[in-house]
């Protein structure tokens, strides 16, 4: 009996050891760039590693005082929130239609929406550039919103659709015999029932949008439309050389809100990421 207990506690210890090592492996880069962001430039590139660097807020002051970081942050937030709103407004009815109605070509339309995620973004980069130039939207947050929304539309649609498929058809039938229209059913029954799925889809879209670089670089040519991801690139050129501590700190600032949100909804997120794995 005692040996069984000991082997159980040993197995538990090994599990925690492996998980701890994995957590350290994942978090080490984050801690590392936080440490770089909070040390003076002179202690970043050195012949010998510095294990206990001097604490310095040089980079912090620099990014807020010498650079329009608040503007970049605002641009990021507006473009991302706007894109997520566009995604949800369009994807929820689309997902409802794909999951509930029978019509010719439904599966083809579903696949077409998904297939937009399959091509390499660079393929459409030049057409998109000309499209926005002709529309007069280059270097605006509106263009970023539209691009992010377009990129994430397929993912959001499919995540929401997978949650909708889990809603028993009986609920809709009940609402219909109770006198509700399709729009009422969607608004009052379906959306509240799949709220965790909608939040998951929104967060995934948000993460993809924060990390988007190629199209942002293409569309934004002045600080008016720069986002955090493009702002990082600003610290790599010019007479000051590569400003590693500023890059690290901006990267950390961009990372924290996403990290907090992901931790808060991780239970739903894992389901969203495996959507389609069990039920298609």
């Amino acid at each position: 009996m005692a040996s069984v207990r000991r082997s159980r506690s040993e197995s538990l210890f090994i599990r925690y050891l492996v998980l701890g090592a994995w957590a350290l492996f994942c978090l080490a880069p984050v801690l590392w760039f936080l440490s770089i962001g909070l040390r003076p430039r002179t202690e970043i590139i050195t012949p010998q590693p510095i294990y206990f660097p001097t604490f310095s807020l040089d980079a912090w002051h620099m990014i807020w005082e010498d650079w329009p970081m608040a503007k970049y942050l605002r641009n990021s937030v507006l473009a991302i929130i706007g894109s997520v709103v566009i995604d949800l407004v369009l994807a929820i009815p689309a997902a409802y239609s794909l999951s509930r109605y029978e019509y010719r070509g439904r599966d083809d339309i579903g696949f077409y929406i998904l297939s937009t995620r399959m091509m390499a973004p660079a393929i459409v980069a030049i057409p998109i550039f000309f499209l926005f130039r002709n529309m007069g939207l280059l270097d605006t947050i509106w263009a970023l919103m539209l691009v992010y929304a377009a990129i994430n539309m397929s993912v959001v649609t499919w995540i929401v659709r997978s949650y909708m498929l889990d809603i028993p058809k009986e609920l809709e039938d009940a609402a219909r015999t109770d006198g509700a229209s399709d729009l009422r059913i969607l608004w009052e029954i379906i959306i509240p029932a799949i709220l965790p799925g909608i939040i998951t889809a929104a967060v995934i879209a948000m993460i993809f949008a924060i990390n988007e670089f190629l199209f942002t670089l293409l569309i934004a040519s002045t600080p008016d439309a720069y986002t955090m991801s493009v702002a990082l690139a600003n610290f790599t050129g010019g007479s000051d050389g590569v400003i590693y501590n500023a890059i690290a700190l901006v990267a950390f600032i961009a990372f924290v809100p996403v990290f907090v949100v992901v931790v808060a909804i991780q239970k739903h997120l894992s389901r969203g990421l495996t959507m389609g794995a069990i039920k298609g």
């Binding site: 039938d173 009940a174 015999t177 109770d178 006198g179 509700a180 009422r184």
Partner: protein, 349 residues
């Protein structure tokens, strides 16, 4: 209140036929039960009455008004579902109020009607709770309250009790029957449980493979099944169906010999006899076989006798006991024998 008529109603999905040629007239205030095994078309027929499915052919009328093409929300029907179908994000109060809200009933009236309906199903104390925290029985009562709250002209109940345990099912059955009589609302009830059908129905519609097999009161269907399917479906345990041959006015099968109730000729037939019409008797009776199994239930004992390759179920007294394989003799109630054509299953009289 409504009279519901179905005329030549069919439902097909491509080559698959769900329901074929249904003719049915449901009287105002009547409680009609659709009974049949899974996939027999009973739920599809109900969904067509509700407007959740459109018939491929035929006409559905309510109080003489053609309902084909009329949306479910515009038919004055209320439906109760097997899985309750309560809206999980709403409290029980909001659930019951939902159909009133959809129909634009004034707010003060909504509250009064919700409390009235909840009171009828004894759910008044749980109105502020969400469905998730209620028991199965409470949820089903909430679903009932949501159906009765707006006083529809017709109730449609799709296996509403099949998710409940046996005891609760019995209690809810009584409650549904009482409510239906009290409200005098035409009700169509779907079930695969023949006890539910027998105890609830004014008339039973027995269905198989999309077609109606028989329509009648519970007594009529029990006493005069029109074919072997109905005979085997109604009754618990079901009627014994024994294949054999009639010649010279006698039905014979291995271990069985009984007068064929005036059926002449020389032909293969299926004999039907209910377990309660079989009586343990002295030797030289209609069936001679060996005890195969004994199942005491408390108030009586189910005895299974093996005669040839057939297993014949008999309802015996509560104290009946015998050894396995012991010889046993059974006399049939000669007034309650049924004969069916073995090919078509149709009753032969």
């Amino acid at each position: 209140m409504a009279r519901i008529e179905l005329e030549g109603v069919e439902k097909r999905w491509g080559a698959v036929v769900g329901v074929r040629d249904i003719d049915l007239d449901i009287a105002d205030q009547e409680l009609v039960v659709f009974l049949g095994p899974s996939g027999c078309g009973k739920t599809t027929t109900m969904r067509m009455i509700a407007g959740l499915e459109e018939p491929t052919e035929g006409e559905i009328r309510m109080d003489g008004e053609l309902m084909n093409g009329v949306d479910a929300r515009d038919r004055d029907v209320a439906m109760v579902f097997q899985g309750y179908a309560l809206y999980p994000n709403m409290t029980i109060f909001e659930n019951i109020r939902f159909p009133l809200r959809m129909r634009g009933v004034p707010k003060a009236e909504q509250t009064r009607l919700v409390h009235q309906a909840a009171g009828m199903v004894e759910l008044g104390e749980h109105l502020d709770r969400k469905p998730g925290v209620l028991s199965g029985g409470q949820r089903q009562r909430a679903a009932l309250a949501r159906a009765i709250v707006r006083n529809p002209s017709c109730f449609l109940m799709d296996e509403p009790l099949s998710n409940l345990d046996a005891k609760l099912r019995q209690a809810m059955r009584v409650q549904i029957k009482h409510l239906q009589r009290e409200l005098k609302t035409t009700t169509v009830y779907v079930t695969h449980d023949q006890i539910e059908a027998m105890t609830l129905a004014d008339r039973i519609v027995i269905m198989e493979r999309g077609a109606i097999q028989q329509i009648g009161t519970p007594d009529e269907i029990y006493a005069n099944p029109s074919n072997a399917f109905v005979a085997g479906f109604i009754g618990s345990p079901p009627m014994n169906l024994i294949e054999g041959r009639v010649s010279d006015g006698m039905f014979t099968a291995p271990g069985i010999a009984v007068a064929a109730n005036g059926i002449e000729g020389d032909r293969d037939l299926t004999l039907g006899v209910r377990p309660e019409d079989c009586h343990i008797g002295p030797s030289d009776t209609h069936l001679d076989g060996a005890v195969f199994a004994i199942e005491p239930t408390g108030d009586l004992t189910y005895l299974t006798i093996k005669a040839g390759e057939d297993l014949v179920e008999v309802k015996a007294d509560r104290g009946y006991r015998a050894d396995l394989d012991a010889p046993e003799h059974v006399a049939f109630n000669l007034d309650r024998l049924y004969f069916f054509d073995p090919e078509s299953g149709i009753r032969v009289r």
